[in-house]
Structures are given as C-alpha cells and as structure tokens.
C-alpha cells in the first residue's frame, strides 16, 4: 500500500490533493456529491474582514481551455464565517484551510486573529494574489516589499501553518517566494489566476463587468508548472502547486516539478469528483512506478 500522506510544516494531509480556494465554496456544496472528508484538504472560499458583494454580473467568460472569473471575493465576512459556516463544516474529517484576504495589512491581520482562535482550522492561506479586487489583493503579491510586509504581520498573529499564495503576474516569482519565506511563511502555494480579458466582438463590449479577470484552467498549466519548478529550486519551504490540474497526469507533473501537495480549482466545475479521481490516479502512478510514498515524487524530475 503506497503512502499518500504529506506533512507541510505541521499541516497533516491524508493525501496531497486539496481543493483550490474559491472553487469549492465551503465544502457544503461538494458534500451534495460526496463526503468532503475524502479530500486531502478543503481550501475555503476567500474571506475578508467584512461582507463584500463582489463584482457585478457578468463575472465569467469561457476561453480556450480555460476561463476568466471576476468574482471579486464575494463573501459575508469573517464573523459570519465563524458564526454560521464554521460550525457546519468543522467536523469534516480533513484539513480545513482558510483563505485570508484584505485591502490593507491591518485587514489581513484582523481576519488572521479571528481565524487563529478556531481549533479545527488547520492552516491559513494568505491570498496576496487576487487580481479581481481594486485594493489589496494582487497589489501585495506583485512586489517583494508588499508581499513581505503582509507576511510579516500575519506571521506574528498566526501560530499554525501559514501558506502564502503567490501571484503569477510577476516578472520573477522566485523573488516574491524568497521574500515571503524570509518573513516566516511555512509554505507557498502557486499559482493564483493570470490577469486576462475577453471581448464580445459582436457587441464590442468586454465580457466581464470588470473588463479584466483571472484566467484559470489547463490553458495556464505550462506557465504554472514552470513557476512551481523555479520556486521549488529557489526556496526551502514546501511548494503547493496548482494551475490547470485536470487529471492525475497533470498532478504528477506538478509533483515532479517540485510540489509537495496540489490544489484543484477549475477542474471542479467540470467534475466535482476531480480531486478524488486525481488522488486515485496518483496512487496508481505510484504503484505502477514502484514508489512507496507520494513524497518521493516531489522534485523527482530527471534533468
């Protein structure tokens, strides 16, 4: 029996396949299909200090092998999460990870302090890479000082596993990764979406209310894979890989490039069972290729 478990600086995962934030709601929606306890971890929808309406409709445009979204962190705020949602999901037998957002460093810290008090939240993912909000979000993620500043303050307020989610919209992602590692991040996850745009030629209008939005899905996989490989070589902390993972082969590619664990986002929209199928496929791969643990695959690319 191969070992699928992964440990990321104190965060224990029964298997390396997590959902990606914003693509799996709060787990209750997936529970209509299967028991979320089967997931390696459940990444919860991005949370902000206060209620956010998100961006106006339309928020979505399909593209070649991908999609753009401009959701803009719609959520009911951290207090609503703690009062109404947390109680309904806290007994899922898998790692629960909160995706934390803010417009200012103070806002990030505000959410962090509240989340730090929740027993069953195993880790936090700091989202400094959302391209769909005017303030904060990606603004922090595209400069080393910005990324360092948020990480530093949040680190002080959070004792458990702190993952920083990186933006791919940068010239050199390894610089940002090193900057957040230096401030005490336990792991980095990458990539968030690429800033993109779609136009309705017939009506000569942008397809998204916000004009630009975040590109996800298989289209971005080659770039995401390259970034995971670069960051894996640049830092010592674990790398969590994502960006267009649709099947087990994609997942293995990210592991080989240096990922210790994976997130599955857009694939869930096509098939809510994708994470479970991917986990099963990784297990097959390990057996077929005579590995005893998924950890042996990380960075095993032969050069």
């Amino acid at each position: 029996m191969v070992n699928l478990a992964v440990d990321i600086k104190g965060l224990h995962l029964k298997n390396p396949v997590m959902t990606a934030s914003g693509c799996s709601g709060f787990g209750t929606e997936l529970a209509d299909f299967y028991d979320p306890s089967l997931l390696g971890a459940l990444l919860l929808k991005g949370i902000t200090p206060r209620h956010r309406d998100g961006n106006p409709y339309p928020r979505m445009a399909e593209t070649a092998s991908g999609m753009l979204n401009a959701v803009g962190l719609q959520n009911k705020g951290v207090d609503y999460f703690i009062g109404e949602i947390y109680p309904r999901i806290k007994d899922y037998d898998t790692a629960l990870i909160v995706n934390v957002n803010g417009s200012t460093v103070e806002e990030y810290v505000e959410v962090t302090e509240k989340i730090a008090g929740l027993d069953r939240i195993a880790a936090m993912e700091l989202n400094i890479s959302c391209p769909n909000v005017k303030e904060g979000g990606m603004a922090f993620g595209v400069s080393c000082p910005g990324a360092a500043a948020v990480t530093r303050e949040v680190r002080k307020a959070y004792p458990k596993t702190l993952i920083v989610k990186l933006s791919p919209n940068v010239t050199d992602i390894t610089e940002i990764a090193r900057a957040v590692e230096a401030e005490g991040a336990d792991a980095v996850s990458l990539v968030n979406t690429f800033l993109g745009m779609a136009i309705d030629a017939e009506h000569r209008r942008p397809r998204l209310s916000t004009v630009t939005g975040g590109l996800s899905g298989p289209a971005i996989k080659p770039i995401a894979l390259r970034m995971v490989w670069q960051v894996y070589q640049a830092v010592r902390i674990p790398v969590i890989g994502l960006g267009g993972i649709m099947d087990a082969t994609d997942a293995v590619e990210f592991l080989l490039a240096g990922a210790s664990a994976l997130q599955v986002g857009t694939a869930l929209f096509k098939d809510p069972f994708a994470p479970l199928k991917i986990t099963a496929g990784i297990q097959n791969y390990l057996e077929k290729h005579h590995f005893s643990s998924v950890r042996e695959l990380t960075g095993k690319l032969q050069m």
Binding site: C23, D32, F33, G54, Y57, R59, V71, G217, L268, F269
Partner: protein, 256 residues
C-alpha cells in the same frame, strides 16, 4: 440535496425546427427526483472549443426509467455540437441542479409564458402540475411560425396558445400582446421563462396586476452547483447564486 455526475446514452436527437433539438437520453440506473425548473449541466461531448459544461433545463424526466429529455436551442458552439450528438453517444450530466418552480395548488388557475428555449421548463411544469388543462394556460411566443416547436402533446396538461411577431401563427405580436394578459386577475400565478426582455415584460404586467410571479433566469454559469459564485443575480437579499438559489426566483426578490 444529493447531486450526481451521471453518464447518459443518447436515445434520440430530433430536430424540432431550424434551431431546436429534442434530446432524449437514458441512464443505466433510475434517476434522482427532478422538478420543473431544475436544470442539468451537460458536458459537450468531444468538442475542441468548449471548455465548461452547459446548463439546460429539464424538459422531461422519467426517473424510474432513467430517462431525461432536454430541449436545446442552437446558440453558439456548445449547443451546436450538442445538437449534433448521435444516438448511442455518451453524455455526462451533473444533476439535479437549482430550485424549480413552486408548484401550484390543485385549485389554482395558472398562466405560464415562455419564449425560445424557455419553453422547456414550462411544459415540464404543465405536465407535473397535474391541473386540468383549463386551469393551466400556456402562451408561447416566437418570431415566426417556423420557430415554434410542436406542443400538441401538451394539450393534455394545459391550454396552449401562441404568439408570433409576424402573425404567422396565433396572436400577432409579443407574448404580452396576447388577450390573456388583459385578464391576469383570473390567474393566481404567473410563471415565465425565456429571453430576458420577455420575462421582464411579463413580470411587469404580473406585478402591476398584483400576481404571484416566478421567473427562471439563465445567467452564465461555470460550476452550476454553487461553488464559483459566477452566476449571481442582485436580489433584495444581496447577490444570490442563480444555480443554487435559483434559477427560479419570485420577482419580488429581484431588483428588476
């Protein structure tokens, strides 16, 4: 509500007119319950250009026999490819999705107004409502006679009338030009599904007449089961997901 991803086999694909196809498909197993107004999310088989699934209202379902029917209008690449499926082909379907229409009480008189592919959930509603035809009136609107789909089979469930913009079938004009709209007070409920301008016109008349009115929205969707928050509609309760809180909404909840 339990949901599943299920492979269906296409049983038949019937071109009803130039742009509408009736797709009948069957699963190996019996189906979960499906109500009028609910929808399914269909993977477009073997298409090079369509990435996401496409949502379609249930036109008919026989859960025990594992049967599901969709009425698909050719709009773009996905629907065009779907309308080209052959009997025997497999189609992956996520279902049941969304909240359907509130079914009328057995003593009520009901008006259902549809246009385009909005016909699908209304005819399913007519069938499931179980009212005597006289108590369920259905008005279907189209541009021209050739755009109407054959609906004779539904005369068992409802009294059907048509409007066409060019007058080639039934009343000339928009659905709201149909004489029944001058007698809205005779109906306790108005249901509508179809193009947005049509639904807005129907809703305006129903509101003016103080009538209960439910509309079915077709917002763009990525997931169809509530995780992506792409399909939202501004409502008096804030931005709600059309795929889970709808697609059917009471117009009192909408900001129209």
């Amino acid at each position: 509500m339990q949901k599943v991803v299920l492979d269906f086999t296409v049983v038949s694909n019937l071109a009803l007119n130039e742009s509408n196809h009736l797709l009948r498909m069957r699963a190996e197993e019996s189906l979960l319950a499906v109500a009028p107004g609910q929808f399914v999310n269909v993977e477009i088989p073997g298409s090079s250009e369509v990435f996401l699934r496409r949502p379609f209202s249930v036109f008919d379902a026989d859960p025990e026999r594992g049967e599901l029917s969709l009425l698909v209008k050719v709009l773009g690449r996905g629907s065009r490819t779907l309308c080209g499926v052959q009997p025997g082909q497999k189609v992956s379907v996520v279902y049941p999705l969304g909240r359907g229409y509130t079914l009328p009480g057995s003593e009520e008189r009901v008006l259902a107004v549809g246009g385009g592919s909005g016909v699908a959930p209304l005819l399913f509603l007519a069938r499931r409502a179980g009212l005597p035809p006289g108590r369920m009136q259905v008005i279907l609107g189209a541009r021209s006679a050739g755009d109407h789909i054959p609906t004779e089979a539904y005369s068992r469930y409802a009294t059907l009338s048509c409007t066409t913009e060019d007058g080639s079938l039934g009343t000339r004009g928009m659905v709201t030009d149909h004489p029944l709209f001058d007698r809205l007070e005779e109906f306790s409920r108005v249901y509508t599904c179809g193009p947005l301008p049509m639904m807005k016109a129907v809703a305006a008349r129903a509101t003016a007449a103080g009538r209960f009115c439910e509309v079915s929205l077709e917002n763009l969707m990525a997931c169809g089961f509530g995780v992506c928050l792409c399909c939202i509609e501004p409502t008096v309760h804030g931005n709600l997901c059309v795929c889970t809180e709808g697609p059917v909404f009471n117009i009192n909840d909408l900001k129209w």
